[in-house]
Amino acid sequence: MSQQPINIQRLSQPVQMPDEIATFSPKVEAEIDRHLAKYPVMRSAILPLMFIVQRERGYLDPPGVSYLAKRLNLRITDIWEVATFYSMLHLKPIGKYHIQVCKTLSCKLLGSDKITQLCVKKLGIKVGEMTADGRFSLSEVECLGSCGTAPMFQINFDYHENLTAEKVDQILESLA
């Protein structure tokens, strides 16, 4: 498939790129190439590439964003525009283990509030915060499609379902 960058005519001045641009290993570059090859338009690969940058650098930091702009032949603001729309894209550092407690109705009915409170107590942080050592961060999120096995949380990409107080204890202990 041909790789035609989108030709976007802009009236504004070109944005100055910061000096620092992220670099990645040949293995990661190859992974990025595989994603780009899926689409007739490069920009379509923006979300998969953002997840890769986020995985490699912890979050979408300015050098990572510059890399994406360069790689996708877009402006920095185009990257920010997309990054700020999606809740799974992080513009500031998050914990090594990012705990996302589902708070939507089915989980709520079966006690998601208690799960959040347990995490708050155990980790000593509030919802939306990160522990001082950067190990854990905690957030409440909307429906994760695990309603039949509620309550639940997702830690990074792993689903932990049918949670009980003991189970939460156990999981957090194992990661501490």
Partner: protein, 438 residues
């Protein structure tokens, strides 16, 4: 959690309990990829679309639009590339059926997409999966590699002249991307904003080319429709709602799970009280949201003794909708004011911000819910909530606005007592927030 069929032979769920059900050899040993072979050997694209029309299959993502008709809107003579996009962005609260189909029977989805691609002349196809379901994207990638290695995907599929590719794509946490035009915006690498219809995606969709967007459950029904014939599939259900439907049951039931029921399964009461094991902890039924969070909430007395038939027409007659089949059951302890507030917060969070009625309206709704919760309820608030809903419903750019309004409208009208309690029973008998704008 229960996964299985009630009231019919399992169709879409018939392989989910097999060992290693996600692998190609198990799928093939159990009837897999026979439908695409039949299509390639004996059927024209029009034949496929005709079978789909006969099947009376209606889109399982929520809107319930007849699938065969949707496919027939794609112009045959268009010189542009055509696309089939599978909507696996499952994020309607209460819905978790697509997840198990992809986890346990990924090849059924691949075969369904192949048949759709053949019928529509699509060479490139995408599976748009919500970002949180990363493990499913990994499963699908493995299954796609298996299919490719076996000559079921790529060039000259099964030795025929038909070639096509399927790729996985990831979302990144946005409910709105389940709306088909927002999904296409997202797939093009933009913010997930919905687009004006018309033109419909069938004419101008992905990269402004003819595109069909179908839900996972819709596409996984396709191989069986081809194998058994559209008419036989339709007869599993009712005249206007063909086949079987997956219901994702959650909340206060003894046995939550994914239930496959024939369309037209009679009696929702029996379904809850017997098939799902009844209400948990010996409590009484209070309310059901039968089709995902966006549909009208039903009172227990609209269900008990009312023989509500579980299909598109039956549920409309019963006072709600099939929607996505996310079936949320609530017992007598639930305060419907609180459950409605929870859903309203969801819609506020997920409103994409593109159009004013939805962006501002959902924000105001949440502010009012919070004021009431904090003891500042006023008798006129129920009407105020309805007025705001009225300013959103039908006036927003995409159906998310309607989806935010319907749960509130139905809850205020059907559970007035739960609202009144909050509106008069605050600590001073009157608003603590007198004079404030909200």
């Amino acid at each position: 959690m229960f996964i299985g069929a009630i009231g019919c032979e399992p169709l879409q769920l018939r392989r989910v309990h097999l060992e290693n059900s996600r692998w190609l050899d198990v799928y093939r040993r159990n009837g897999g990829y026979e439908a695409i072979k039949k299509v390639l050997d004996t059927m024209s694209p029009d034949d496929v679309i005709n079978e789909m029309k006969k099947s009376a299959l209606r889109g399982r993502g929520g809107a319930g639009f007849p699938t065969g008709m949707k496919w027939s809107f794609v112009p045959k003579d268009s010189p542009k590339a055509k696309y089939v996009v599978c909507n696996a962005d499952e994020s309607e609260p209460g819905t978790f059926k697509d997840r198990y189909l992809m986890e346990r029977d990924p090849h059924m989805l691949i075969e369904g997409i192949l048949i759709a691609a053949y019928a529509l002349g699509a060479k490139t196809n995408y599976i748009y999966t919500r970002g949180e379901y990363k493990y499913l994207i990994d499963i699908m990638d493995v299954a796609l590699d298996e299919a490719r290695a076996a000559g079921l995907l790529g060039n000259k599929i099964l030795g025929s002249d038909f070639s096509c590719e399927i790729y996985t794509h990831t979302g990144a946490g946005a409910y709105i991307c389940g709306e088909e035009t927002a999904l296409l915006s997202s797939l093009e690498g933009m913010r997930g904003h919905p687009r004006m219809k018309p033109p419909f995606p069938a004419i101008s969709g992905l990269y402004a080319s003819p595109t069909v967007v179908n839900n996972v459950e819709t596409l996984t029904a396709v191989p069986d429709i081809i194998k058994m014939g559209g008419e036989a599939y339709q007869k599993l259900g009712t005249e206007k709602s063909g086949g079987t439907k997956l219901w994702a049951v959650s909340g206060h039931v003894n046995q939550p799970g994914v239930y496959e029921l024939p369309m037209g399964y009679d009696d929702m009461e029996k379904f809850i009280m017997e098939d799902c094991g009844g209400i948990a902890n010996g409590k009484q039924l209070k309310a059901v949201i039968p089709g995902g969070s966006s549909v009208y909430i039903m009172r227990a007395d609209q269900i008990i003794g009312k023989d509500v038939r579980m299909d598109y027409e039956g549920l409309v007659a019963g006072g709600s909708m099939v929607g996505s089949g996310g079936f949320i059951v609530m017992d007598e302890t639930v305060d419907i004011f609180e459950s409605t507030k929870n859903l309203t917060e969801f819609y506020k969070h997920e409103s994409c911000g593109w159009c004013t009625p939805c962006r501002e309206g959902t924000d105001w709704l949440v502010k009012i819910f919070k004021r009431i919760e904090n003891g500042g309820g006023r008798p006129e608030d129920a009407q105020l909530l309805l007025d705001i809903c009225d300013n959103i419903e039908g006036k927003s750019f995409c159906p998310l606005g309607d989806a935010a309004a319907w749960p509130i409208q139905s809850a205020v009208k059907r559970f007035p007592e739960d609202f009144e309690k909050h509106l008069v029973n605050n600590s001073r008998g009157e608003s603590k927030h007198k004079g404030e704008l909200l």
